[in-house]
């Protein structure tokens, strides 16, 4: 069922699909989460960016992740560059590990994805700590839920990408 068995050759997906999923992720992040739900909210943008930087490393690079980060900064009214820096690190992690991670199934990837996400969350919290002098620890709960979202999200994006690719190449 998992699309990332090494036997399957990955085809480049339509860039439009990547953009649409990133926009959808921004939309999901912008839903009116509140209170505990806000702490538990998975960072959909980070997940989508990580997915594409793992499976389509030449379509989604560090520069694009940075640009999406700037948009996320405006959307969340965080400091300019705060999300951008975190997503830059995220995309770098994806670019470094994409060949190794593609050997694994989604389930096995989750642990390593958790590491990359923890780093991303850490960068964001570090910037916040440097500027404002404190860190809210419940913020890191989101890292955990994001990692748990990896399998369903991966299945979904994999299915979307495969269908588009088949339609284009058949």
């Amino acid at each position: 069922m998992y699309q990332n068995a090494s036997s399957e050759i990955l085809r480049p997906v339509n860039p439009l699909l990547i953009w649409l999923t990133v926009i959808a992720a921004l939309l999901f992040n912008a839903l009116p989460w509140d209170g505990l739900w806000l702490d538990l909210r998975p960072d959909f943008v980070a997940l989508v960016l990580l997915y594409w930087s793992l499976y389509q490393p030449h379509r989604l690079g560090i520069g694009l992740a940075w640009a999406v980060g700037i948009l996320a900064d405006v959307g969340d009214a965080s400091l300019f560059g705060q999300h951008a820096l975190a997503y830059t690190v995220l995309a770098f992690g994806g670019a470094m590990l994409h060949r190794r991670l593609q050997m694994f199934e989604l389930r096995e990837q989750t642990a390593q994805v958790f590491g990359i996400l923890a780093l991303t969350y850490g960068v964001y919290a570090l910037v916040h700590w440097q500027v404002n002098g404190y860190v809210v620890w419940t913020y890191f709960l989101g890292c955990l839920t994001s990692a748990l979202m990896w399998i369903p999200l991966g299945l979904m994006l994999g299915a979307l990408g495969r269908r588009r690719a088949e339609r284009r190449f058949s």
């Binding site: 050759i9 912008a30 989460w33 830059t88 770098f92």
Partner: protein
């Protein structure tokens, strides 16, 4: 183009490490400029216009849900609510008449004492579009901005009391920092004793604390804190919070006082932006006392 195999002789530009350093440096530069000098507000409001359809779309599910809920409101509950509001209105009307008499009397007394008149509050009703999705911050965005001539620094309240302050104005919306934001300060006065102090946000959803109050200060739990109005930003006499707990530990110089905001900081969707507070006269220039250099 097979994306799983990176073939070295295809030139794809600089490697990931170079890109990481470049974009990280760019981010850090932006962070520094934004945090220190606040030069990027115009870029932010320009980008916010681009993002605003997305943000509007994100509120759509809850709007639809609410409208569906409103559609299925029963006749019974409407009649009930109408009755309750009627009763409330009658009570309020009686109190309002008293208030008018007291106000007239107060104006007269103030005239007699030659004190400046209190500001009359003008309010602009606004609606919360969405709550900021950053767990570190206590901010909401409202549906009016520069288009309704709102200005940063204006006070936001609801029917209970102070809710927050406008901190950033976009073309069509503005950002309200709630009083529960960490280290957000509101100058207050204990209504019972007139003691002036400052209420700080605690950073969680619903509490404020009074710092730097001596252990011996006359504060009781249940005391109402109202704005003191001495800073010229907050109009005087608007309820802010109620004291709920006081810890007096002799080993600390200050008492620990926790309060609960009386305004529905996390509750309502409709708020009021207050404009037209009186500017206090300028602080007189410091004069050198004679005989000293």
């Amino acid at each position: 183009m097979d994306s799983t195999q990176q073939v070295p002789f295809f030139n794809r530009g600089p490697g990931p490490a170079v890109r990481l350093v470049f974009f990280a440096a760019l981010s850090l530069l932006l962070l520094f400029v934004d945090a220190r000098y606040h030069y990027l507000e115009s870029a932010r409001s320009a980008l916010s216009v681009v993002l605003s359809p997305l943000q509007q779309a994100a509120t759509l599910p809850s709007v639809l849900w609410r409208q569906a809920g409103e559609f299925f409101v029963t006749q019974d509950s409407l009649v009930d609510e109408n009755l309750r509001l009627h009763r409330r209105h009658e009570q309020d009307a009686a109190q309002l008449q008293q208030l008018q008499a007291v106000q007239a009397e107060n104006r007269q007394l103030r005239n007699l004492l030659e004190l400046p008149a209190r500001a009359t509050l003008k309010t602009t009703p606004v609606e919360i579009i969405y709550i900021e999705r950053d767990a570190f911050k206590r901010k909401v965005l409202i549906n009016k901005g520069a288009d309704a001539r709102l200005q940063a620094g204006q006070i936001v309240m609801d029917d209970g009391g102070i809710v927050g302050q406008l901190t950033r104005i976009y073309p069509w919306m503005s950002e309200v920092t709630l009083i529960t934001e960490k280290n957000f300060a509101v100058p207050v006065q204990v209504l019972r004793t007139g003691l002036r102090t400052i209420a700080f946000g605690a950073g969680d959803t619903s509490s404020l604390s009074l710092r730097y109050l001596p252990v011996s200060a006359d504060v009781q739990s249940g005391d109402l804190l109202v704005t003191s109005g001495i800073d010229g930003i907050y109009p005087a006499g608007i309820p802010v919070a109620k004291v709920i707990k006081i810890e007096r530990d002799a080993s600390y110089p200050f008492a620990r006082v926790s309060c609960l905001p009386v305004g529905g900081v996390d509750k309502h969707r409709h708020l009021l932006v207050v404009s037209g507070s009186v500017k206090p006269p300028a602080v007189p220039a410091e004069t050198q006392p004679a005989g000293r250099k």
